[in-house]
């Protein structure tokens, strides 16, 4: 696993939002999040030693109350900035009608390097 991805998971799990990797077997009540390592991104050209590779990870948060949106956005984006710098973006902003949940998805680029 890329070291930055592991750092991202660890940092998200320290927030007030419950996070799981790849999916929940028993979803918590209220807001919850999912973090996944999606694919090799090709954002950096790997050399023959496969150094300087990068991957895409995504962070999804599901929450029932629109009033919680600002806090959730601030929390997630603070972690993304700390771990990934500026290499992240908000990919989608959706709403499920049944159950009524807002769903926000961020995509970020992570590398395998020492995290300070």
């Amino acid at each position: 696993m890329p070291s930055e991805y592991e750092a991202l998971v660890a940092a998200l799990k320290l927030t007030d939002i419950p996070f799981a990797e790849y999916g929940w077997n028993r979803k918590p009540e209220g807001a919850y999040g999912v973090v996944t390592l999606d694919m090799e991104s090709g954002g950096l050209d790997g050399d023959e030693l496969k150094q300087d590779r990068s991957w895409e990870a995504s962070v999804d948060v599901f929450f029932p109350l629109i009033s919680d949106r600002a806090d959730i956005v601030a929390t997630v984006e603070e972690v993304l900035t700390e771990i990934c710098g500026s290499a992240w973006y908000l990919n989608s902003n959706q709403h499920e009608t049944n159950p009524s949940l807002f769903h926000m998805e961020w995509v970020c680029e992570v590398q395998d390097k020492a995290v300070s």
Binding site: N25, S58, D60, E96
Partner: protein, 163 residues
């Protein structure tokens, strides 16, 4: 004493540049079409890699899409949107927006909007694990698409300059 310089043939170059500017949008559109085709094929191939599991109503957990849900997405034609032209700029998108509906393959299956099912699988939902096949397709095809666009534009420009 001021130096004087003169150039010949500027009228011809000026005409060529004017003609190029007029035909730039067409050149860009033809190039973009090549790239969009590669992107479309990549997305259609990536749909086939969607992982599935037999349907079980998900209570409290996130499941994989069922084979029937994957079949709904496979039934849709991945399309290239009508080109958006603005001056010399040309843009388009590739996806399921106009893919229509497909009948779900279970008993009393209703007609489902293909784009909605594709989005549920791609982004994930509160009851379905995400499989970002659209981003995978885009990432894997991006370099080839850019190369195809560049090659087509360069070849069209060479033809224009020759004429």
């Amino acid at each position: 004493m001021p130096a004087e310089m003169s150039f010949e043939g500027m009228d011809e170059i000026s005409e060529m540049l004017t003609e190029l500017a007029e035909k730039a949008q067409g050149v860009a559109a033809r190039g973009l079409y090549e790239g969009a085709g590669i992107m479309r094929d990549s997305l259609a191939a990536e749909v086939k890699t969607i992982q599935t599991a037999p349907f079980r109503r998900a209570v409290g957990y996130q499941r994989l899409p069922s084979p029937e849900e994957k079949a709904i997405v496979e039934a849709g034609t991945v399309g290239i949107a009508k080109f958006d032209k603005n001056g010399s700029e040309v843009g388009t998108s590739v996806g399921f927006s106009d893919a229509g509906y497909a009948r779900a393959g279970w008993k009393n299956g209703a007609m489902k909007p293909i784009a909605q099912v594709a989005n549920a699988i791609n982004s994930g939902t509160s009851f379905m694990k995400k499989q970002p096949f659209v981003r995978r397709a885009a990432n894997s095809a991006k370099a080839r698409a850019e190369s195809a666009i560049r090659q087509r534009i360069e070849s069209d420009l060479e033809e224009l300059i020759k004429d």
